[in-house]
């Protein structure tokens, strides 16, 4: 037999992450076994820092590779059976995922040490999850999509329960696992039905052979949609999110709210682009309702939350709604708006979770919003970062969040005018109204930090060097993307999200 025509260069970033994930446990035990290193005893904190930096290093190598790949022509791994497509969109989403996880990894060193869960497996799990995410956004085949999804989810389940001595963390992991496996089952069932109806797992083939009148295919598509909707937490598949985000270690919650969501959104975008073209019109009302419900329920529920992490969880649900609006538009402008929004959202959400993580020292967690009172006096840096992130999440001009919303709603209105669709206009109106509602709970946070007197008790923690760096990067990125979005937007409109067409013609 002859060897298949493989392009290993196309998947080089994934390989790097995979090798990193495999070697990380080994590094961990090696560090543990080395009693002395340069005649100094290896402390747990020191080993944690090394692991964290090593993970960051692996992720940065992959990131550089993705930057290289972003400008190049689309490539596939196996040219005869293109199941992995590395095009502009994949590279962009990979970059977002890698940035998000890189920042998380960098901040994790001190965070884990503070919570006394400084264990090397964390980084192996993190890298494995990142590999899954990258696979997920690159896959053009339902089987590969499922593999990516599981490879992403299972390490995240474990990471959610990483505080083994904390009941809430256990609850979080178990809930996430139960509901998540259920969703995986639904997705797999949908895949099976789709395969049964079309005889193929390739998204492009499915799109080409889509028989709109086949109920089995429709049910399969619906189930596939539900499976992905669970991962991005749209209403009514969102209820796990607040419970899980609240219980999981804060940085893991941040990871779940950002990169996991980015990856799932990437898969959703792919499925819509490649496979669901023929049922766009049919899905439109369903997605419309879903988007409206998601925005509204997320924002309304966020208002009554007292716990910062739960509030951020509902906020992330609400942002899923805004992003769905962008998908709903379906135009090139809409998709690049979604991509921009994902990047902006990653920075601001990660920044917010990062601040909460800094304050999450074991034994004196400050997770309630009321715990932030007077933070501006004691830790002006943390308060400033939190304020910037909140202002950006609320979508106030001058921040990345504003530009993201601006691009999405501009795309909506443009498309609404072009197609004379009043329902799209209404969607824009509802979206803007929702942004207004969200001001209530986002601005409450700076209000509490700046105007309330702190409750008596120990001073909040300082951020460590790397944590501070991560927070500063997030805040700076939020501002820069807010005042300097044009260049990035140019890149995004050049990201040829419809490049799969050329691959389609090449495949048998």
């Amino acid at each position: 037999m002859t060897a298949p025509d493989l392009d290993l260069g196309a998947v080089a970033p994934l390989c790097v992450v995979a090798v990193g994930a495999a070697l990380m446990p080994l590094l961990d035990v090696l560090l543990g076994r080395t009693k002395t290193f340069l005649s100094r005893p290896v402390t747990a904190a020191w080993a944690g820092t090394v692991m964290s930096l090593a993970t960051t290093g692996v992720l940065s190598i992959a990131l550089v590779m993705c930057f290289d790949a972003a400008g190049a022509a689309p490539r596939t791994f196996n040219r005869d059976h293109p199941m992995i497509l590395m095009d502009g969109m994949t590279s962009f989403l990979n970059i977002v995922i890698l940035i998000g996880s890189l920042l998380t990894a960098l901040a994790s060193g001190k965070f884990l040490a503070d919570l006394a869960i400084n264990r090397g497996e964390y980084y192996a799990l993190l890298l494995a999850a990142v590999l899954g995410m990258m696979l997920l956004v690159a896959s053009t085949n339902l089987m590969m999509l499922f593999v990516g999804l599981e490879l992403m989810s299972i390490p995240i389940y474990a990471m959610a329960g990483f505080r083994r001595d904390s009941l809430r963390s256990n609850e979080s992991a178990l809930k996430y696992f139960l509901v998540g496996s259920f969703a995986s089952g639904i997705l797999l069932y949908g895949t099976a039905l789709i395969y049964g109806a079309t005889g193929t797992l390739s998204l492009l083939e499915i799109g080409a052979r889509f028989d709109v009148d086949d109920p089995v295919l429709l049910i399969g598509s619906g189930l596939l949609l539900v499976g992905l909707a669970f991962k991005i937490a749209t209403v009514p598949f969102h209820q796990w999110a607040p419970d899980v985000y609240e219980g999981a270690p804060t940085l893991v919650s941040g990871l779940m709210a950002t990169t996991v969501k980015v990856a799932a959104f990437g898969a959703l975008l792919r499925v819509f682009q490649m496979a669901f073209g023929p049922i766009d019109d049919l899905l439109y009302p369903a997605l419309w309702v879903m988007a409206v419900l998601t925005m509204t329920v997320g924002n309304v529920m966020a208002i009554i939350q007292q716990n910062t992490k739960r509030m951020l969880a509902y906020s992330s649900v609400a942002h899923t709604g805004y992003l769905l609006v962008g998908i709903l538009v379906g135009t090139q402008v809409g998709i690049s708006a979604v991509l921009f929004y994902l990047l902006a959202y990653t920075f601001m959400t990660l920044g917010a979770f990062g601040v909460v993580a800094v304050l999450a020292h074991a034994g004196r967690e400050r997770e309630r919003i009321a715990d932030l009172a007077g933070l501006a006096n004691s830790r002006i840096f943390l308060a400033a970062v939190m304020t910037i992130c909140m202002v950006s999440l609320a979508g106030i001009p001058g921040t990345a969040g504003f530009m993201g919303k601006f691009y999405i709603f501009r795309a909506v209105v443009e498309q609404a005018i072009a197609t004379e669709s009043s329902s799209l206009l209404w969607l824009a109106v509802i979206g803007v109204l929702n942004s207004a509602i969200s001001l209530v709970y986002y601005l409450r946070v700076p209000m509490v930090m700046f105007m309330r007197e702190p409750e008596p008790g120990p001073e909040p923690d300082r951020s460590g060097t790397f944590e501070g760096l991560v927070l500063a990067v997030c805040a700076a990125a939020v501002i820069l993307l807010g005042i300097w979005p044009e260049d990035l937007n140019l890149i995004l409109t050049r990201v040829d999200v419809l490049h799969w067409a050329s691959v389609a013609s090449a495949s048998p």
């Binding site: 037999m1 495999a22 070697l23 446990p25 080994l26 035990v29 090696l30 076994r33 109920p215």
Partner: protein, 117 residues
């Protein structure tokens, strides 16, 4: 829809069989109750302690190690069968898989998971 008639028939048959067996056992089975019969089945031994107690996690470790390596090795069987036909390419493809296994083994070993105490 008619092409799915066979599927429906199959599902009906399956459900029917199960139902039938359940009904038959409950109708036909003899009902003699005595103390030993209410106890959990323990290979003919009478249970000494309550089964609901915790036992060492080490058992889990062994079980999980067994499952991992056993299942991974199962994957190697089909590969071994066509090993010669695949040639160097086959070896190349199997190498990452095998090295991953080795890393896992080394990890387990160094973590001390292979030692009972």
């Amino acid at each position: 829809m008619s092409e799915y008639a066979g599927l429906g028939l199959f599902m009906a048959l399956g459900a029917g069989t199960i139902l039938l067996l359940l009904v038959l056992t409950s109708v036909l089975g003899p009902r003699l109750r005595f103390a030993e019969k209410d106890e959990p089945f323990e290979c003919g031994e009478s249970p000494l302690v309550s089964p609901y107690r915790r036992f060492p996690v080490k058992f889990y470790m062994v079980a999980i190690s067994f499952i991992i390596f056993d299942l991974e090795v199962v994957f190697l069987y089909p590969w071994a069968v066509v090993f010669r036909d695949l040639g160097w390419y086959g070896l190349l493809v199997a190498a990452p898989f095998l090295s991953m296994l080795s890393i896992a083994l080394a990890y387990e070993w160094m973590k001390g998971a292979l030692e009972w105490d």
